[in-house]
């Protein structure tokens, strides 16, 4: 019996090992993914993003528990940073997810970002395909702690929750592009701390100043994950956004855009693989650098020369 057959039989360990195949780009992973894709059912994907220490994992802990209580089949992907020096990672999100009882069937997978800088791992959205094909109907994706511009989450989910804390900044920060633009729901967590009221006010007024009006009014909610305050209300707002997406036709619109990017990514990856195995093999790059250092060539014409050679070869 192959791993894939066991997966189809509902084996959790087979799912888990298939995820590793996808994550490690082991030979045959593309074929595996295209088979898995054909079994997907359009899993609903909630993304949680925000700065480190805002309480994302603790909120996921409560949201996943509530969703499972409601009878949904829930999976969680939590991404933490990989070291740019050693490639190692300390994946510590799970430690906050202890309230999810093991018998509820919630599947939690931690991923190292492995060189990606957009807040997710390169394989995160492919792992989503495996979870969807396995039969989960709701997925929560938690990004690494982000700053202002790690926005990969918008291509990997349907509803984005931006989690902030009272210390996340003032009215000027709330007006900035990037992170502050991608929220479908804002949660100001740790709202028992000083400054929470002001933060809520600043976010709301920044939202009012938007000229590009959507039919979805982005709600702002104060939560306290530690004291389970307002977390049920947060889930209600998330699911309200889900209904909005479904009834307004937005869901198929954003999924279409995401698929377009997905196909682009598949092509880019193949081209990049070709480039690294054709142009950059056999010390070609080192030779070029040598010439540049000697003053015989410059980096721009070296790049164009090598690219032309690659195009002629293909």
């Amino acid at each position: 019996m192959s791993l894939y057959d066991k997966f189809l039989d509902g084996s959790v360990i087979a799912l888990s090992r298939i995820i590793s195949h996808i994550e490690n780009l082991r030979p045959g992973y593309q074929e595996l993914l295209s088979r898995l894709y054909r079994r997907t059912n359009g899993i609903y994907r909630i993304g949680l993003t925000g700065p480190p220490g805002a309480g994302k994992s603790s909120l996921v802990n409560l949201l996943a528990g509530q969703l499972a209580d409601d009878g949904r089949r829930v999976a969680v992907i939590c991404v933490d940073p990989s070291s740019p020096f050693t490639g190692g990672a300390f994946l510590g999100d799970r430690i906050r997810m202890q309230d999810i009882p093991v018998d509820k069937g919630v599947f939690i997978r931690s991923m190292g970002s492995r060189g990606s800088t957009g807040g997710l791992a390169a394989a995160t959205s492919n792992v989503t395909v495996a979870l969807d094909a396995f039969g989960f109907d709701t997925l929560i994706i938690e990004t690494v702690g982000v700053g202002q511009m790690e926005l990969d989450i918008i291509d990997a989910c349907d509803t984005v929750v931006v989690t902030l804390v009272p210390e996340s900044g003032d009215a000027i920060q709330a007006l900035k592009a990037g992170l502050m633009e991608i929220a479908d729901v804002f949660a100001v967590n740790k709202s028992d701390r000083a400054g929470a009221e002001q933060m809520l006010y600043d976010l709301k007024s920044a939202l009012e100043m938007r000229t590009e009006k959507s039919k979805w009014e982005v709600p702002v909610i104060a939560t306290q994950a530690l004291h389970k305050k307002n977390t049920e209300e947060l889930l209600r707002l998330i699911l309200e956004h889900k209904s909005f997406l479904e009834t307004s036709g937005q869901l198929s619109h954003i999924r279409g855009l995401q698929l377009q990017k997905k196909v682009e990514t598949v092509i880019t990856r193949l081209v990049f693989r070709d480039i690294s195995s054709n142009i950059l093999s056999d010390g070609v790059l080192e030779k070029a650098v040598d010439k540049i250092m000697k003053g015989e060539e410059d980096p721009y014409s070296a790049g164009m020369r090598l690219y032309k050679r690659f195009k002629l070869g293909s």
Binding site: V12, I13, S16, H21, L32, L91, G92, S110
Partner: protein, 139 residues
């Protein structure tokens, strides 16, 4: 490129001394491993569920409470039950020589006691994972 080594580290039972396991976690991270730390007071069920979901190569537990003769076998049994018998179980703690012999017989891959260096633990895990081959067909 070789696959990244993934390890789950956990503290089962009731003792709350996690300094040691955090040192190990940092050493593994610096060795290039992906370390999933699940924290204190874990039941064997929680540990094994996490190990299966995370598809780790090894599970490392730290037990300073004296309950090792109960906790190690319980984890081994559950791993087997869930189809994860190829996941290495290793650990550290205050464990007598006699108990170590029994635990190794039961299937614990490696045990460390006070004085073990992080380098030897890292080196052991690297080679132990390398020896563990899987020829399972994917499709």
């Amino acid at each position: 490129m070789a696959d990244k080594i993934r390890v789950l580290l956990a503290k089962p039972g009731l003792d709350g001394h996690d300094r040691g396991i955090k040192v190990i976690a940092a050493a593994f991270r610096d060795a290039g491993f992906e370390v999933i730390y699940t924290g204190l007071r874990q039941t064997p069920e929680q540990i094994v569920t996490a190990a299966i979901q995370e598809d780790v190569d090894a599970v490392g537990v730290s037990i300073l409470s004296g309950a090792h003769m109960i906790l190690f076998p319980a984890i081994l049994e559950l791993l087997k039950k869930e189809g994860g018998e190829d996941i290495l179980l290793f650990g550290g703690g205050i464990i007598s020589k006699e108990d170590m012999v029994d635990l190794k017989k039961a299937g614990v891959a490696k045990l460390y006691t006070p004085g073990a260096t992080t380098t030897e633990i890292v080196d052991w895990l690297k080679s132990a994972v390398k020896d563990k081959k899987s020829d399972e067909k994917i499709l």
